[in-house]
Amino acid sequence: MTEETEISSGLITTQGLTFAYTEEPVLRDVSLNIQAGEFTGVIGPNGSGKSTLLKLIGGILPVSPNTVFFKNHELGHYKKRDLAISIAWIPQEKQMAFSFKVIDIVLMGRHPYLSPLSFEGKNDYQIAADAMRQTQVLQFAQRNFNEISGGEKQRVMIASAISQNPEVMLLDEPTSALDIKYQMEILNILKQLNEQENKTIVLAMHDLHLASKFCKRLILLKEGSVFCEGSPEEVLKKEILEEVYEVKVKIFQDDADGSLLVVPGHS
């Protein structure tokens, strides 16, 4: 355990993290620190390893020893239940095989708090209702999850994660399939969770403008490695993006909030 205390710098730390689904590594030697209370965006081209990185630090994919640490302890040493109470991983919304109601899905966030053979109690319902109110899906509680829209589904998934009451929320492209109204809704919910409840937020995303608008820190991946990281101003630079995305870009700044607009195709 002595080695573990030496790298005590972040809430989540990865050290030389490498992962391969088959033979070709999807992530190579990734070393990162994520501090408590951060709002971090993971960006990079398709296939750069964003989703895989989130799944690894979320405990969804198996990690090799001494590569991922949560609160200075190896991720793999945590009981699954204890980890679930600390870290929630939220996938991109999709159809389900069975017609669960919205309330069923949200209550599933209470699973790590319940013993086998027990039902959700008043307290669990209260927490679920509060989470649904927070993401504005309470009115859908009795609707079939498969029948609501994509943006509503994503809000239900976030409500489910909120009712899990974790310290860290990892979101895999929560806005990629949504129109701009829903994108703003989702990101504002996350901003609120970050600012008012001090949740640590890490999200993978494609939209660089939204990333610069909401994230305080960006991690840019290229072919499974960290290309660079820092504030949006430090990462979203013309020469960096042109090298990583292999496309000419021009960068504008929105005077209203200083967020950066990356426009492709300008030579």
Partner: protein
């Protein structure tokens, strides 16, 4: 304050659901013995006791009907629960107890026993049943042995393919043995493959009951974990479910109880596919209610089908598997339509 109507599954709703399905089961269990090709005087049957050999009413009731009804109950319950569990764990509507090859393995075992003329009884259980159970168990290990867990999950498509392959392989082995067998054996084989509940002793039922009940109990114990898996494997992991362990326990327990009843009753199709769908349409996909609901409803369903089978063209009998499809099909269509109208699916 919450203005949330408590319509997700809670203790009260659960108790109401279970009570309803239990009452249906109880009614079926009490009424089915009274129905049959020969009308019996129930008062007379009960007056003489079980072993009064001169009491024909009692003989029909206690030796012909009740054991058969009890076997129908256990078989229907086991197949329906297995169907519900397989559908949830494989996240596939079309999964059934026999999807992973258990029934064809059992058939192969039985057919081998028939062709070798192994026809005796060990510890009250026929060698035919023991061979069938061994076949079911062997297939289960074969199919799961073929599938390697990968990144914390059973790849369900590989599992399904392995099951389908096992089904075809053993079906062709059965045909091969059937083709080379003599006339008596051939008749025995066909009868076994049709499935049936015609037993005349209680010992068989009591010998499989504990296994089936223990298996269902175990499945209920992990039902909330399986709920989460049915809603998404990776989300389940993120909520603290040990997915691999739950899948293993679920598949093994479900295959065991199916193997147990198939060894006695033969492969009775359709029940395990259709009953979980019926119950799901009534109570939703939550396995905490779906499993016990399917248990009681599946038991009732198979008893009713068998009662129809033994009375419809009496004194001849129709194999129960034929009735399950003939009755279950239209009923399912009706249920599907009524639920669509109400917008539940």
């Amino acid at each position: 304050m919450t203005d949330l109507p408590p319509t997700a599954l809670n203790t009260r709703k659960f108790a109401k659901g279970i009570a309803l399905f239990f009452l249906i089961f109880l009614a079926t269990l009490l009424l089915a013995p009274l129905i049959g090709p020969t009308s019996i005087n129930i008062g007379k049957a009960l007056s003489g006791g079980v072993h009064a050999t001169d009491n024909i009413d009692a003989n029909i009731l206690f030796l012909a009907r009740i054991p058969r009804i009890l076997l129908g109950a256990v078989t229907g319950a086991a197949l329906s629960v297995t169907g519900a569990v397989f559908q949830a764990l494989l996240r596939n509507d079309l999964a059934a107890p026999f999807t992973l090859g258990v029934s064809s393995g059992a058939s192969f075992g039985a057919v081998v026993a028939i062709s070798l003329n192994l026809n005796f009884v060990i510890l009250g259980i026929s060698t035919l049943s023991i061979a069938a159970f061994a076949g079911a168990l062997g297939t289960m290990f074969l199919v799961f042995g073929l599938v390697k867990t990968r990144h914390g999950d059973f790849p369900t498509s590989v599992l399904l393919l392995a099951g389908v392959t096992a089904n075809f392989f053993f079906a062709s082995m059965v045909m091969f043995i059937h083709y080379t067998s003599d006339f008596t054996q051939s008749f025995q084989i066909v009868r076994w493959l049709m499935g049936g509940l015609d037993i005349t002793d209680y010992k068989t039922v009591w010998s499989i009951c504990p296994f089936v009940l223990a298996g269902i109990g175990g499945l209920i114990y992990i039902s909330r974990d399986m709920n989460l898996i049915s809603a998404g494997v990776q989300s389940a992991m993120s909520r603290g479910v040990d997915v691999i362990r739950t899948q293993k326990i679920g598949f093994i327990l479900a295959s065991l109880i199916t193997g147990t009843v198939v060894a006695i009753s033969g492969p009775i199709g359709f029940v395990g596919l259709i009953v979980p769908h019926m119950v799901r349409l009534m109570v939703g996909p939550d396995l905490r209610l779906l499993i016990p609901g399917s248990m009681f409803f599946g038991a009732s369903f198979l008893i009713i089908c068998d009662t129809v089978g033994r009375t419809l063209i009496a004194p001849a009998e129709i194999p129960v598997g034929v009735i399950t499809a003939m009755l279950g099909g239209p009923f399912f269509v009706w249920l599907l339509k009524s639920q669509q109208k109400r917008g539940n699916i």
